[in-house]
């Protein structure tokens, strides 16, 4: 993504061209600390210089000080909202910080003025996917793939998005295209592992993922996926180990943070678990699952008001989730809000009945739920 990091050059009368030029030169030489010093010196002279603030943001991003970079970009945009390039830089910084949800808006803003910028579009699409907004992400990646069919990175992202969205068939087709090309084998094994997992072929999934990890020992997605495989068979120590290794490489993975948080909580490390759950929620603010588990912790600690707060938000995001509705009722009850608890339980009953009806119909369409009809009288 660094290739997209734009340096700003819009010197105004108040800026000192020497400081800004020297700073940019230092940055190009890779002397980031010196560049930062020079840009800060300029900002000391002209605190509202969009160019200086924007360049400071760029060098901070290079130094991996992403939160500070984002703050600098925001200040730059306050000084001059018309600086389109800053939106792109800010989107990238959010993306790199794993704050995909926040990356979407600035990238969108940038693309309004630069609709043909391929890599910005790619980032924008992936941000949607990472934020579990698969429909939008896949639509954009599809368009990109049609426009640039020769770019394996786009094909990979598209295949991955389909698999994650549950469309194994399409994922498999795209994977075959990838396999036929010159794409590096590690990610191909990763995708194949994900596909096998989706198909409940867990042994095969494990083999593919292990191979992906062998080819790239720092593949955070492979480590995280192996962690989930271990989680599936309740091998908590191994799952924790894999997820911790994945997060050491890619700390911004909201889902891995969430899963590790729950795993630690259920293995009697609630305080550490809570940290990961909160981190997951910082990374993806519209993520009901960590809200649910944080609420469980709050209820256990007899903090019903805090639990209600989490669960009301979660219920808005996932109104059809029985577990959230049930826990919200419990939280209301614990908080002394009996009437709300009653209403929530009624909603829980409704959701549960709907689900049972669906499950039954899906499994035995010829077996009605009402068994008072003699079996012999039922048409097969």
């Amino acid at each position: 993504m660094t290739a997209l990091l734009l340096l700003i050059s819009l010197a105004s009368a108040a800026d000192s061209p020497d400081l800004l030029t020297s700073g940019r030169s230092a940055m190009e030489r890779g002397e980031y600390a010196e560049a930062e010093r020079l840009f800060r010196e300029q900002i000391g002279k002209t605190p509202h210089s969009a160019e200086a603030l924007g360049n400071l943001g760029a060098v901070l991003a290079r130094e991996n000080k992403l939160d500070e970079a984002i703050a600098a970009y925001k200040s730059a945009l306050t000084a001059d909202p018309k600086l389109d390039a800053i939106y792109l830089n800010m989107g990238i910084a959010y993306f790199r910080a794993g704050r995909f949800e926040q990356a979407i808006d600035p990238l969108e803003h940038y693309l309004k003025f630069h609709p043909d910028e391929i890599r910005a579009r790619q980032l924008h699409a992936i941000a949607f996917v990472e934020n579990a907004q698969y429909e939008q992400g896949i639509a954009e990646l599809d368009r990109l793939n049609r426009e640039k069919p020769d770019q394996p990175a786009i094909l990979f992202a598209l295949a991955s998005a389909h698999i994650r969205a549950g469309d194994e068939e399409r994922g498999k087709q795209l994977l075959e295209q990838l396999g036929g090309g010159n794409y590096p084998p590690g990610p191909v094994h990763l995708l194949q592992g994900m596909l096998f997992y989706r198909s409940k072929l867990y042994d095969a999934a494990e083999r593919e993922l292990e191979e992906a990890l062998r080819l790239d020992p720092k593949s955070a997605p492979a480590l995280a996926a192996l962690g989930r495989l271990r989680l599936r068979v309740n091998d908590d120590p191994a799952a924790i180990d894999y997820l911790q290794r994945a997060l050491a490489i890619q700390p911004q993975d909201a889902e891995s943070n969430y899963q590790l948080g729950v795993l630690l909580s259920r293995n009697n490390q609630e305080e550490r678990g809570r940290e990961y759950l909160e981190r997951a929620l910082e990374q993806r603010t519209h993520y009901p699952d960590p809200m649910y588990f944080l609420a469980k912790i709050e209820l256990k600690e007899n903090h019903p008001a805090e639990a209600v707060n989490y669960l009301e938000k979660a219920a808005l995001l996932a109104p059809h989730q029985e577990n959230i509705t049930f826990l919200l009722a419990r939280a209301y009850k614990q908080a002394g809000q009996e009437e709300r608890a009653r209403k929530e339980l009624a909603e829980f009953r409704r959701l549960q009945a709907e689900r049972l009806k669906r499950d039954q119909a899906a499994i035995s369409p010829d077996a009605p739920l009402d068994p008072t009809q003699p079996i012999a009288g039922r048409e097969r």
């Binding site: 989930r228 469980k296 577990n323 039954q360």
Partner: protein, 582 residues
Amino acid sequence: MNLTRRNLLALLGASPAFAQGVATRGIKAQPRGKPSGIPFDARFTDIAQSAGLTKPVIYGGVERKNYIIETIGCGCAFFDYDNDGWLDALILGGTRVSDVPEGATNRLYRNNRDGTFTEVTKEAGLLRTGWASGVCIGDYNNDGFEDVFITYWGQNVLYRNHGDGTFTDVTEKAGLKGNRTRWGSGCTWLDYNRDGYLDLFVSNYLEFDFARAQKPGENINCTYKEIPVNCGPRGLPPGTHSLYRNNRDGTFTDVSSDAGISKVKGTYGMTVVAADFDEDGWPDIYVACDSTNSLLFMNNRDGTFREEGVERGAALSDDGVEQAGMGLGIGDYNLDGHLDIFKTHFTEDTNVLYRNDGKGGFEDVTLSSGLGVETRFTGWGAGIVDLDNDGHPDLFIATGSVYPELEAKLPNAPFKTPRVIFRNLGNGHFEELIETAGSGIGAPHASRGCAFGDFDNDGDLDVLIVNLNEPPSLLRNDLTGGNHWLKVKLVGTKSNRSAIGARVTARYGGKQQTQEVLSQSSFYSTNDRRLHFGLGPATTADLHVYWPSGAAQTFAGLGVSQSIVIQEGVDKVIRAAWPRPS
């Protein structure tokens, strides 16, 4: 690799795991604390062989079970069918799919009063082959002799006890014969309209038909950990439950619809308990349900019921997930005078303990009471029973897998598993005991129903256990230590003669404990209906008796370590005629 959120919650134990036929939450056990070091004086030895309980309980395939009907098994009863003051044993049985082996029948054993039993099934008229499920005992015609109702896949059976050692099948005459095949599971006698006659509640598990049943592995409900196993219960049409009103003339009327019972659909009903959970003087009905909401039918006092399991906190786990409700223990574990519910579940889930607030509202205290340490076994028969007479009721669980074919592929999934005791530490916490409570506890079996009672009248509770395709176990409690006890038999006069639904609160040594006479509990089983109170070191006890008729009686300063009989309306207790053996 991402998963859908629902699946992810399922993986993490917040939602039912749907890739199998039975509900389990994939729960991890809580870590065990340090042993309390407090001595537990009860030791259990399986004496079934020497006591003459030698015939196996035939029930489905031995090496593999292709149909769910082979897996569920059946219950048993400790009851005194000949009124001699000594508990007899009724052990239900099943059959096989491919053939009917010789000896596939229920069995009645008469207590010889010397620690042994004699089988009297044939003489008693109780020979019967079929897929028996549950038993409930009660004197439905108030003639002074306990009658027997047995549920079946096919047709349930009511046996009238003539009082001369024989029984007659009066199902049809009583109006209880059905017109189609149903899978009767739990049952209980109760006097829901308080007219002095016992009515009958029957739960039905699911609709099962060999002709339509799918084979192992045929759909997602026919696998367990990706291994093909028998299908269900999920994916099979659930049963509806039935209430029969006693017409006081030996017949019954099906009032399931009028009483609001049959409108509750979509549950796989198992063990049933009738007890007055909200203490309004009217019996309520709790149904443990497999992989669906458990049900709590509250008595409206007008011949109807309303189902409020979810609303009252007794239907689901504390995170709103269905559990595989099998067996039920009912008792006052925390000595607050209210009846709590202990329910057993599938492996990789905890059993659940619901604390009653006295108004019929329940709180799941499983984890806070220390029961989360055990998730390895599938639990069936259960009791809240004072095994060491220390005055604090303990928990007992009979366990056993449903999939004999698993253990060859999964070393951690044995078919036969031990019994479990959670001894009550008296501070709201329990401590698990297996190996230290005697050889009869640690011995592995594929157990199902169990009944609690003092078969040798020595002042402690013994346990009768059904083991699939093996003889039953009779765990004799060889209790040491000097704790006292009091055993109380109630006889109704205005109330039903069996006193089912009568409630007794005992006060002893600054404690109080409530018990109720139940017709069914554990798993599909009936306990000794004499209420057994462990009293610890207390040397006297007061009893408060609340009869189903509404009458109440108090008996103060009773001597301990004795068995007494209390007749409704009679203010003098009778020291029981049955002696302690030498």
